[in-house]
């Protein structure tokens, strides 16, 4: 026995700054998942209140001394709170009995329930519950952020650029749905939820994009959502129910994009074009992870949009320089993406790649005859690409028209400045 007896325990939320940051938020997710498993989905709201109560109690109780086993402490307090609440409701006699049984071996249970594998399974089960296809997609995302990531409704509203009332509405819709369809007190076993995997992928992907594409100026806020998406994806990949190449491809694409996240902004918060980015700022750890997941994603006969997108991200990350980027390869990957998931936004991206590789005329030819749907027509990206291509092709008047439209439609000052810089520079 040559290892310390407590290698990397929680160490007490106050003693290790690195762990403090997300300890409470992640503990929230763990406790909710475990307790929901105990008392059943219909009591989700009571469980969340109980966990919230336990975390608040900890703030006071731990001020002077932190318990030896903080997670077990939180579990015990939350469970007692929950039993107290459910006891008031005589209709839940059966639940009460079950909880009382657990009280009997209270000393062992919290530790047992916190066994890494079990916690992982409970968190995953909760994730699959959140991804019930009958819950509207926007509600799935909010439910996952609330129950698994431990964000409050206010924090979710702040991160998703919406109102707290709207978040609350989406949550209520999700909970109503859960109450209707999950009448069982037990959440279904993971294996039976396997068919929801595409929905789980979609929610993780959406969560990542909310962070990556967010209009938030503050880098930390955006990075946080990306990290949560990666955390859930990693969790998913760690269990047989999710350990499949599409999950690995999703993780690869998230890590490879996350690697470039910090370099997309200059010191003043302005956005930088890819060719302006300092490649030495790209995060080595994310690149390592991205490459590793990429290697694991390259198996089997299933090619998903995540595979195509991971390939595109990898082309950028592993190109020695902007000038040495393999644009033809990227254009081909976009073509594959279009076949899997036809969307004019993919065609638009392919046009950009083709123009980089074969010149602006070839890029414009890709868009020839493409009629943008309403949501893209008038979107700044559509006009920005056309302005850029026409500008480079020497069609000054057409370029100017699209440039004005793009600038007028730009969603933020940062984007407007970026466009202005890109679209007004002299042609090469």
């Amino acid at each position: 026995m040559s290892a310390p007896s407590q290698p990397r325990g929680p160490g007490g939320p106050a003693s290790q700054p690195g762990l403090v940051e997300h300890y409470f938020r992640h503990e929230y997710g763990r406790l909710v998942a475990i307790l929901v498993r105990r008392v059943g989905l219909p009591h989700l709201e009571a469980v969340e209140d109980a966990v919230q109560g336990a975390l608040l109690a900890a703030l006071t109780a731990w001020a002077n001394s932190i318990p030896d086993n903080p997670s077990a402490w939180l579990y015990r307090v939350a469970q007692n709170h929950l039993v107290g609440v459910l006891r008031k409701d005589q209709g839940h006699q059966r639940v009460l009995d079950g909880a009382a049984d657990q009280d009997a071996h209270d000393e062992e249970e919290p530790v047992s329930a916190a066994f890494a594998g079990e916690v992982r399974d409970e968190l995953l089960r909760m994730l699959f519950v959140c991804c019930d296809e009958t819950i509207p997609e926007e509600s799935r995302l909010v439910l996952a952020l609330k129950t698994l990531c431990g964000f409050s409704t206010g924090e979710i509203a702040f991160r998703l650029f919406t109102t707290e009332a709207n978040v609350y509405k989406r949550l209520a819709r999700a909970r109503d749905r859960l109450r209707q369809c999950e009448v069982d007190t037990q959440t279904p076993p993971l294996e039976s939820l396997r068919s929801r995997l595409p929905s789980v992928h979609a929610v993780i992907y959406l969560l990542f994009n909310e962070g990556y594409l967010s209009r938030h100026a503050e880098h930390a806020i955006r990075a946080e959502l990306c990290e949560e998406a990666i955390r859930l994806g990693t969790l998913l990949a760690s269990h047989p129910v999710g350990a499949a190449p599409p999950t690995f491809a999703l993780l690869a694409l998230m890590h490879l994009h996350a690697a470039r996240l910090a370099s997309r902004q200059d010191a003043t918060g302005g956005l930088l074009l890819l060719e302006e980015q300092d490649r030495s700022l790209w995060n080595a750890e994310h690149l390592h992870q991205g490459a590793t997941w990429l290697a694991r994603a390259a198996h089997g006969d299933v090619f998903t949009r995540f595979h195509a997108e991971a390939g595109i991200a990898a082309e950028h990350c592993f190109a020695p320089s902007f000038a040495d980027t393999r644009w033809n390869e990227i254009a081909e990957l976009y073509a594959m993406l279009e076949r899997i998931d036809p969307s004019p936004i993919h065609t638009l991206n392919r046009a950009v790649a083709v123009a980089q590789g074969k010149g602006p005329q070839a890029g414009l030819a890709v868009l020839d005859g493409v009629v943008p749907p309403a949501w893209l027509d008038g979107h700044y990206l559509w006009d920005a690409v056309l302005a850029d291509l026409h500008h480079r092709a020497g069609n000054a008047a057409t370029a100017e028209r699209h440039r004005d439209q793009a600038l007028a439609a730009a969603p933020s000052t940062a984007v407007r400045q970026l466009l202005h810089r890109r679209l007004t520079r002299p042609t090469r």
Binding site: R120, T234, A243, E285, A295, A298, D301, F303
Partner: protein, 116 residues
Amino acid sequence: MSKRKYLVLFRNQPTGGQGGPSPEQMQQMFAAYKAWMEKFKDDILDMGDKLKSDGRVVSASGVADGPFVEAKEVVGGYMIVSVETYDRAVEVVRACPAVHAPGALLEIREMAGAKM
């Protein structure tokens, strides 16, 4: 019943940059990925709605929980428990506070031929 030795690895998400693949290795990994993608270039046979489990995690040799087995993973620590059965080893590990570390994963392996 004679006691066997079990190695318990405490795994954590990698946090540092050390021990990762070199740029050259990453290029090779990417090249392998590109090679694999070739077969889909002309005709994408399966778009991924039917997911398969590759069932790679648990093996009869006693790996209780073996995700994240890449070379680059950081092993946070380890201990060896000497007990009769695999189940008993799991019980012992459950009592260890390290399982509470956020993101902690524990892997238990029976040590080859290590009865005592």
